[in-house]
């Protein structure tokens, strides 16, 4: 039963990606179809990103829980790197940042890997925050103290703490028995990633098709209310259709999860746009030319993961 579900899900995603790649290549070869070439290029770039994402995820899932936690840890590390690089810091923050990067971030992921929810849920938001405040104070530079410590804290919470709830999904006891193996949990994580990516894409599509009213024109020039509503509705629909892939969910619960994921993803995108606008840049980092940075790819995920995690926990415990 479980394996059938996994096979259907994987086959479906692969078929969809293959068809989309075929369409993308067709549109690239025939620029006379009246479609915006820039949109086609964006579409093809996104597709390549999804292929890479699926390959990396498949490898990590195949290697197991630890490998997946390590993978997310590395992504967090890199996202935090981009975040702090773009945030002006002073010399007085240097030592605090060293411990943030080399102690708090890895240790948090170790706790996630050990399934110590009781510790990791307070470790970064409480203990790391206290440490950063004290360490920056001891460094002796009081200029814009609260602003500087808040920046480091925001980076930690968004890039590390929130994102780590995605691999933490692998530790949730699903249907109360461990005998089922881990495939349910991996499907749960994949369900989240799929819906986040889908919501992102749908927002773009609906914004282009119907977009009239910008949410905040000063922050983002392509996020509209129509895009948000359209993406929330389509993601809820897809989630309801795929409810069988996420074990503890009933169809209506899955639809609710889809709705929440779309809204949270939107919130993440808006937040990162605001930070980028303030710093006067378009993308974080230059890891792959034309792809923006890691943080551009995971911003929606960072916001959606903790909410989805707690929703799943709630439904598991209620059911």
């Amino acid at each position: 039963m479980n394996d059938v579900r996994t096979i259907v899900l994987v086959t479906g995603v692969l078929a969809l990606l293959t068809v989309a790649t075929g369409v993308g290549q067709f549109l690239k070869r025939h620029p006379d179809r009246g479609l915006d070439p820039a949109a086609v290029r964006t579409f093809n770039l996104r597709l390549r990103g999804w292929w890479i994402l699926c390959t990396v995820l498949a490898a990590a899932f195949w290697l197991g829980t630890t490998a997946t936690v390590v993978l997310f840890g590395l992504v967090s590390f890199w996202a935090l790197r981009e975040f702090i690089t773009l945030t002006p810091t002073r010399k007085g923050d240097h030592r605090a940042l060293f411990w943030v990067f080399f102690l708090f971030t890895p240790l948090h992921y170790v706790l996630v890997g050990l399934n110590r929810y009781d510790i990791f849920s307070v470790f970064l938001p409480v203990y790391a925050t206290l440490f950063v405040l004290a360490r920056v104070a001891v460094a002796g530079d009081y200029k814009r103290f609260l602003e500087r410590t808040a920046k480091i804290q925001a980076g930690l919470v968004v890039c590390v703490y929130c994102l780590s709830f995605a691999p933490a999904l692998l530790q949730i006891p699903v249907e109360g028995q461990a005998a089922l193996g881990r495939s349910d949990n991996f499907r749960l994580l994949f369900f989240l990633i799929l819906l986040v990516q889908f919501a992102d894409g749908m927002q773009y599509v609906w914004s282009r098709m119907l977009g009239r009213r910008l949410v905040a024109s000063a922050v983002s020039s392509n996020r509209t209310w129509e895009g948000l509503l359209g993406s929330a509705a389509s993601t809820a629909l897809l989630a309801a259709v795929l409810w069988w892939a996420a074990p503890p969910y009933q169809p209506w619960q899955a639809a609710l999860a889809g709705l929440v994921i779309a809204v949270m993803g939107f919130a993440g995108g808006m937040t990162m746009s605001a930070i980028k606008r303030d710093r006067g840049v378009k993308d974080y980092g230059t890891l792959v030319a034309g792809h923006g940075g890691v943080l551009d790819r995971v911003d929606s995920m960072c916001f959606a993961a903790p909410v989805f995690y707690h929703l799943t926990l709630l439904i598991t415990q209620a059911g």
Binding site: T85, H94, L97, F101
Partner: protein
């Protein structure tokens, strides 16, 4: 992001060889020039030392580590990697500068490029001495004991012979504020005595936040190394004008 296209290997090879033969011809009648202008004929054109496999491996590992730790993205703006003799001159913000520039070069060019470093810092202790002498093949300059007849520029020119390139920091020491300071005159004398060497401006961005002055633990932020188009000393160009122009060439890479 590489703005300039790379020439294919054969092209580079021939260019390098052409230069080698050109220098060899010039070296034959070296007695026509003053010893400071050209390396003495005894200075071999071939690499002075053949590094042991262990040192090469250590160099590769350290270069990789430096690239990962500094997250350096490398840009060649209107310029491209080449094995011809060059002087890379950069703004100086961190102890990591020389290492990261060295690591940003392709391995074949790294092999013939020697960072210029301060003797008082790099010859202290076994590890630093091993790193600077055997791994980076650094050219150590004594900042405290500069003699008139043995200027650092002459020493550099003698040491690099006709094949090696240099990495120098014309500001002399690491900037405290993060601004690019005035250039010292060494670069001018290098350009004057060896007008054939290409001077490549290099701008190092954000590395001072990775390892600021006075810190010994790095924070792995992302930095950027930009290589610019070569420049030479113009006919009759005054020292001050040249140094200002060279400094502007570095700042122009900031964007």
């Amino acid at each position: 992001m590489t703005l300039a296209t790379r020439p294919d290997a054969t092209q580079r090879e021939t260019r390098f060889q052409r230069r080698l033969t050109a220098r060899a011809v010039a070296g034959n009648d070296a007695d026509m020039l003053s010893p400071a202008d050209l390396p003495a004929p005894s200075a071999p054109a071939a690499p002075k030392t053949v590094r042991s496999p262990l040192c090469r491996a250590a160099g590769l590992v350290l270069a990789g580590l430096a690239r990962i730790l500094s997250g350096a993205s490398v840009r060649w703006i209107a310029s491209q990697p080449d094995t011809c003799q060059r002087v890379y001159f950069a703004n100086h913000t961190s102890h990591l500068d020389a290492l990261v520039i060295w690591a940003s070069l392709p391995p074949s060019i790294r092999e013939i490029t020697r960072p210029v470093a301060a003797n008082d810092y790099w010859s202290r202790g076994i590890v630093r001495r091993w790193l600077s002498r055997d791994v980076f093949d650094a050219l150590l300059i004594d900042r405290t004991d500069i003699k008139v007849h043995q200027s650092p520029v002459d020493l550099m020119l003698r040491e690099i012979g006709t094949t090696k390139s240099l990495i120098v920091f014309p500001e002399g020491s690491r900037s405290i504020t993060g601004e690019v300071g005035e250039f010292k005159s060494g670069l001018y004398y290098l350009a004057k005595k060896r007008p054939d060497i290409e001077l490549i401006p290099v701008f190092i961005d954000n590395l001072n936040r990775v390892l600021p002055r006075g810190e010994f633990l790095p924070v792995p932020l992302l930095s950027c190394i930009s290589f610019g188009p070569p420049l030479w000393l113009e006919q009759g160009e005054q020292k001050l004008d040249f140094l200002v122009r060279a400094r502007r060439a570095v700042l122009a890479l900031k964007e």
